[in-house]
Amino acid sequence: MSLAALNKVEMKPKEYKSDVSVVWCPGCGHHGILNGIYRALSELGIDPDNMMSISGIGCSSRTPYFIKSYKMHTLHGRAGAVATGAQLAQPDQCVMVTGGDGDGFSIGGGHMPHMARKNVNLTYVLFDNGIYGLTKGQYSPTSRPEMTAYTTPYGGPEEPMNPLLYMLTYGATYVAQGFAGKPKICAELIKGALEHKGFSYVNIFSQCPSFNKIDTVQYYRDLVEEIPEGHDPSSLGQAIDVARGLENGKSPMGLLYKVDKPTLDEKLAEIVTKVGGHKDYDVNKIVDLYRP
């Protein structure tokens, strides 16, 4: 975000809670992520009037309801594309997308590369629970193949995707990974993402105790490990290596990659400058071009 341009407010994390009560199951990892978001917003002093929370459909996509901000609860898979329009319309506001692995990488997977390579100036927090929660337990693109689920009673036939590697490949300019069981780390990474100018992506493992019986809290706890000291987040090569897995086979937690590039709104503003465009341009001049 261009957080500099925003006026800061002083609000405690819990003051970012809206008056809609949280509907997730007890024990759901999404609670932890939400707390991380509240904390990050508070630490940055983001003014809810200048923030847009945008989501698709899924348990995780309910998040905007629980946050004080302007917000949109859109369609399954389309949050990123909607947010792109919203961000370009109000480039000075803070735009955050929240959503699930299914929403983002299954039905929404076609929009991801384009948002990233266009470097749309927004933050995408993906609640990765390896399952479709809201529809009661079908496998998602991040599900492990050994999982038996709703439409895979005999086990899944697919290799899971690697969200971090995808995002690095797509050209996201900030890529990080957290785990819902570590809300402080989540807060830290989300904060960094919100501060980052450009397309920032935070993948957060989140257990779904109701429907994903194999990716338990304990499983994720064992799976992740903080990225070793000495990692250079400005190196795409190193980031790709880490994204493919730490040397001990664990999944990295922390900031993988961060680089500064012009954002889409900046590039579009450049075009306007190039043609000398301004709000008060006399459009009758365009009509004149069509006189015979």
Binding site: M52, T74, T84, A89, G110, H114
Partner: protein, 570 residues
């Protein structure tokens, strides 16, 4: 009725300069103060293939492409073959000969002028000058002002350098000389120049872009698709001047999603597509309805279903425009008659979207998309621009408040104290999800009832003619222009015929339809689709029992077709 217009058709291979020759004639006529209506068919193949450009010009208003040509200029044998059935006694053919790729047989009564276009071009050492040779000949033969044509050519070619300009003018003169050497035995001539009105000449697609920009467009996102892409091109060129934004999205779903995001965030937004794109947008249009987000969409219809006949004319998206979403999902549907409407009704569509906070679909079609027409030069000052109703910053903000007219004030992000959610879920006044049955009734009613004033706020449907009639013609889209001429000609023959030309397709101004029908013994509904889509809605929504007259061959109606059918049903 004395003939006041002239129709010149040029046919040839894509890439032979058929289109630019036609454009030059059209521009010259417009410059000379004449009315112009052009009509084109493009090859469906990537390169090459038959291509046709027809200019109809007159000192009076021209409503359509005409029944057929008066003058046919054949660049090659394929064009000749495809058009020779229209060579009737009295019509004229100018053709590439001797030395072309064909030897025409001239039917009895047809006047033929051979102009060795290819040979002359080759002699000039540039095959590409063939169309200039033809242009010179046409100018000399049919009174297309040489001076004006040369002005137009100069405007076009001088950017490319003195040499290229002079070369083209030279080829033009060669053609002129060839024609002057012939004896003119026909009587066709373009009307004499008049003091031009304050006009522009522009295609339907460009006009949609122009209207949108005049209407205050700030954000445009689309995905390329034939025959709608030129709208994006126009906007891309001009919107940055107004500091507005154009995005080419990764697909149609993304483009309408981006539109909704930008619109929610306060910008006047639109997209443009054709049938396949509209189909893909069906789900997101429902979101616009449910979240009450202003959303303006131009659908330039083409031959369906599926990929269908992408470069061909059709008016077959009325079903999907009105009914193409799941659930009961209200929207406004408008349809343009001609290029002038493309400008004005793009403004209307943006206005209605803002006023009613819902999707507005503006239907255009493949033949209008590329038809250039002379229209009064639009002026920013003459347009009323409507913006969304804004929250007055008093009391508690409720996004979906049940107001007297069912239109709830909006608050753009950044407004202090009006944080709210736009949602596709059923919701209460505050936007929170609700399945309460009472609330459900209220919100469903709200979304439909807010549209109840559209009919009274939009101008009445035009009625062509007065009193009682034996036949009333109801039609829509670019077929209106064809009907206008058919009605005029039938009236001149003493027939009692009237026309009813709706532009607001949905909600349907049922009372206006019925009042019109009461004055007519029979109702005929010509339209270019298979099932008779407007007829369907007339039968469903009004008490009228129309005679449906659909044709579906990728071509617009001609006035004669409508006249013939009218006589048949009377």
């Amino acid at each position: 009725m004395a003939k006041k217009d002239l129709v010149i058709r040029i046919g040839g291979e894509g890439g032979e300069g058929v289109v630019s020759a036609g454009d030059f004639i059209a521009a010259a006529c417009a410059r000379a103060g004449l009315e112009v209506y052009t009509f084109k068919t493009f090859p469906a193949e990537v390169k090459g293939g038959y291509c046709m450009y027809q200019v109809r010009t007159s000192s009076e208003r021209v409503y359509n492409q005409g029944d057929t040509y008066d003058v046919f200029c054949a660049f090659n044998g394929e064009a000749y073959e495809l058009n020779k059935h229209l060579l009737v006694p009295g019509s004229v053919m100018v053709y590439d000969g001797p030395g072309g790729d064909f030897e025409p047989e001239i039917p009895e009564g047809v006047i033929a002028y051979p102009i060795p276009m290819t040979k002359t071009a080759l002699a000039l050492k540039s095959k590409r000058s063939k169309n200039m040779v033809a242009l010179g000949a046409l100018s000399a033969l049919f009174n297309i002002s040489e001076a004006t044509l040369k002005e137009v050519l100069t405007l076009k070619f001088k950017k490319k350098g003195e040499d290229i300009l002079n070369f083209n003018l030279g080829a033009f003169d060669e053609g002129k000389k060839l024609a002057q050497a012939l004896e003119k035995v026909d009587e066709f001539r373009v009307a004499d120049a008049r003091t031009p009105d304050d006009v522009i000449i522009i295609s339907g697609n460009d006009a949609c872009g122009m209207g949108a920009i005049l209407g205050g467009l700030e954000f445009f996102s689309a995905y390329p698709i034939t025959p709608a892409t030129e709208i994006a091109k126009f906007v891309a060129t001009h919107i940055p001047k107004k500091a507005g934004t154009l995005l080419q999205a990764e697909d149609e779903i993304a483009s309408i999603a981006q539109l909704l995001g930008a619109s929610y965030a306060g910008k006047k937004s639109m997209t443009a597509t054709s049938g396949p794109g509209l189909a893909l947008m069906s789900e997101m249009l429902g979101m616009a309805t449910m979240s009450e987000t202003p959303c303006m969409l131009v659908d330039v219809q083409r031959g369906g279903p599926s990929t269908g006949m992408p470069t061909k004319h059709e008016q077959s998206d009325l079903f999907i425009a009105i009914h193409g979403g799941h659930g009961d999902s209200p929207r406004i549907v408008l349809s343009v008659e001609d290029v002038n409407d493309c400008v004005n009704m793009s403004v209307d569509a943006l206005n209605l979207a803002e006023q009613y906070q819902c999707p507005v679909i503006l239907l255009s079609d493949g033949s209008l998309a590329f038809s250039t027409q002379t229209i009064p030069a639009p002026k920013k000052e003459n347009f009323k621009i409507v913006n969304r109703r804004k929250w007055d910053c008093k009391g508690e903000y409720k996004r979906y408040e049940l107001t007297g007219d069912n239109i709830s004030p909006m608050a753009d992000p950044g407004t202090p104290g009006a944080q709210h959610i736009a949602t596709g879920l059923e919701h209460n006044e505050k936007g929170s999800p609700s399945w309460d049955i009472h609330n459900r009734d209220l919100q469903m009613d709200k979304r439909y009832n807010k549209l109840s004033t559209v009919i009274e706020n939009y101008h009445d449907t035009e009625i062509d003619g007065e009193g009682e009639a034996d036949l009333g013609i109801i039609t829509w889209g670019s077929t209106i222009g064809v009907a206008r001429e058919a009605v005029e000609r039938m009236r001149a023959e003493g027939m009692k015929v009237k026309g009813f030309y709706p532009k607001l397709m949905w909600p349907m101004p049922v009372e206006q339809y019925e009042a019109f029908a009461k004055t007519c013994k029979k109702i005929l509904v010509p339209e270019v689709n298979y099932l008779g889509q407007l007829s369907h809605f007339i039968r469903a929504e009004t008490s009228i029992d129309p005679i449906s007259y659909p044709i579906c061959q990728g071509l617009p109606f001609t006035p004669s077709q409508i006249i013939a059918k009218s006589k048949e049903v009377l």
